[in-house]
């Protein structure tokens, strides 16, 4: 029997509240499938499972706040017989008392025999999804009947009345939680990571001109944002200086071959998250634009996935839009580097002994001195500058 545990969705997370199961016992699950929604200080996150198998049992019920690492469900691997490692009775010992908010925790939910499942109309299931109602908890008006839209509406209204204070935190509270999460991660970073900082000005005229020409021939909905070719360049260049891409764990650096580019995205009304665009170094610009669009929409809609929160290998922060010319970032642990991009401005630029007007951007690097030195960081920024002179290589 395999254990599916509450994942760590970032250096600042110590517990999460299980909001919803997307699967039920007996369901076959595939690696990468979203199986649950967990509320964290940074909003609701869709949690994926990373093993194939059959869901044997849900250990934690929706509404329970549980620490990172706690068992949420038990999973049977493909071919593993039912109950191979889990005796039917007595049930497994309840997990140790959680360190956090015991009052909020439901009793371990291990139904001895699942009750006969109610039949549910597709329209009711869809509505429940829209209203955030756990469809499995809705009872039909008539015993043995089919769960209808009306039943879901009734359940939603009842929940609104009964659970309003215990539901999603109010905006102000949520904002305070977010600040707390950021404070924890950034304090840890500044306490533990010996940062060094570098900056360089890059002539981005070639890539910006290339982008303008490219967008001119594209329909409006297919245009690329200026940050997209920059994302690709930042990710590709990391292949040349791999000690900037990876994580510091247990006193050692673990490099990453793929570049999972954490994108610092500001939230309307304050706060920020930095979820990953996976394999950014090997994706084309259209794919990166599509991924960025999808990510921003889900950040704003509060539907990020666990892998996006937990596995960026480096972060990109782009404050140029606010008119900032240079940003020296704070590394998000356990990562070891953050690249900052400033505003693209027209400046006098000397090349070949002549002064011309060029589009110039300040690129910065904050990196972990335990893993790399300023010399290597400097090589990275120089390589980034070179690559941006050849926009055709970014496709």
């Amino acid at each position: 029997m395999r254990e599916f545990r509450m994942p760590s969705l970032g250096a600042d997370m110590d517990a999460g509240t299980l909001v919803q199961w997307m699967v039920k016992p007996g369901d076959t699950v595939k690696r990468g499938q979203v199986v649950a929604v967990v509320e964290t200080q940074k909003g609701a996150i869709e949690v994926e499972i990373w093993e194939d198998g059959m869901l044997d049992r849900l250990v934690v019920e929706p509404g329970a706040k549980v620490p990172v690492g706690e068992v949420l469900a038990l999973l049977r691997a493909d071919g593993e017989p039912a109950g191979a490692a889990a005796p039917a009775a007595p049930p497994v010992a309840p997990p140790p008392p959680p360190a956090i908010a015991p009052a909020a925790r439901a009793a371990p939910a291990v139904p001895a025999a699942p009750a006969a499942r109610a039949r549910i109309s597709p329209a009711a299931r869809k509505l429940a999804d829209e209203l955030g109602v756990d469809i499995e908890s809705v009872r039909p008006a008539e015993p043995g009947g089919v769960v209808s839209r009306e039943d879901v509406e009734r359940a939603a209204a009842a929940r609104k009345g009964a659970e309003a204070p215990a539901g999603k935190p109010a905006a102000a509270d949520w904002h305070a939680q977010m600040r707390k999460a950021i404070a924890a991660a950034m304090s840890r970073s500044k306490r533990e990571i010996p940062h060094y900082y570098l900056a360089t000005d890059i002539d981005v005229t070639p890539v910006m001109d290339w982008l303008a020409a490219e967008n001119l021939r594209r329909a409006v909905a297919e245009r690329l944002l200026p940050v997209v070719p920059l994302m690709k360049a930042v990710a590709l260049t990391l292949r040349e200086v791999p000690e900037l891409n990876g994580v510091w764990e247990n006193g050692a650096f673990r490099p990453s071959r793929p570049v999972h580019l954490g994108m610092a995205i500001a939230l309307r009304g304050g706060g920020l998250v930095a979820p990953a665009i996976h394999d950014a170094d090997s994706k084309g610009l259209d794919q990166l634009m599509a991924d960025l669009r999808d990510l921003i929409m889900r950040v704003r809609g509060g539907r990020l996935r666990s892998s996006e929160m937990s596995d960026p290998t480096v972060t990109l922060t782009n404050l140029g839009e606010q008119g900032v010319e240079g940003v020296f970032g704070v590394i998000y642990p356990p990562q070891v580097a953050i690249v900052g991009l400033g505003k693209v401005v027209e400046r006098p630029w000397v090349a070949g002994g002549a002064v011309g007007v060029r589009k110039v951007m300040t690129a910065t690097l904050a990196a972990d001195h335990r893993v790399s030195d300023g010399h290597r960081g400097g090589l990275y920024l120089a390589a980034l500058g070179r690559l941006l002179q050849e926009p055709e290589k970014l496709r």
Binding site: A212, N215, L216, V220, A221, R223, L225, P226, V227, A266, R268, G269, L292, R293, I296, E321
Partner: protein, 86 residues
């Protein structure tokens, strides 16, 4: 696309902005001040505004013209001109 009055265009713009930044009240916008500052929208939101204006008004807005849509007044004047021309 046929010509539209500035009021009609302003209504379309308010609809679009309301969908992008739902917490803002478009009637409080200062017409001559940059929209992005007033609404706290980024380039991603701004591109979505352009896409929706294109869908609703049927005018193509080349990237080179984005500068004309920075303020409410500018956007109304530009879009009225483009709707009349198309």
């Amino acid at each position: 696309m046929s010509a539209r009055t500035p009021d009609e265009i302003r209504t379309v713009i308010f609809d679009v902005l309301g969908a992008i930044a739902p917490e803002t009240d478009p009637s409080t916008l200062v017409p001559g001040k940059p929209l992005r500052e007033q609404l706290d929208i980024d380039s991603f939101d701004f591109l979505n505004v352009i896409i929706r204006l294109h869908e609703k008004l049927g005018v193509d807005i080349p990237e080179a013209d984005y500068g004309e849509l920075l303020t409410l007044d500018g956007a109304v004047a530009y879009l009225a001109r483009r709707c009349a021309a198309d």
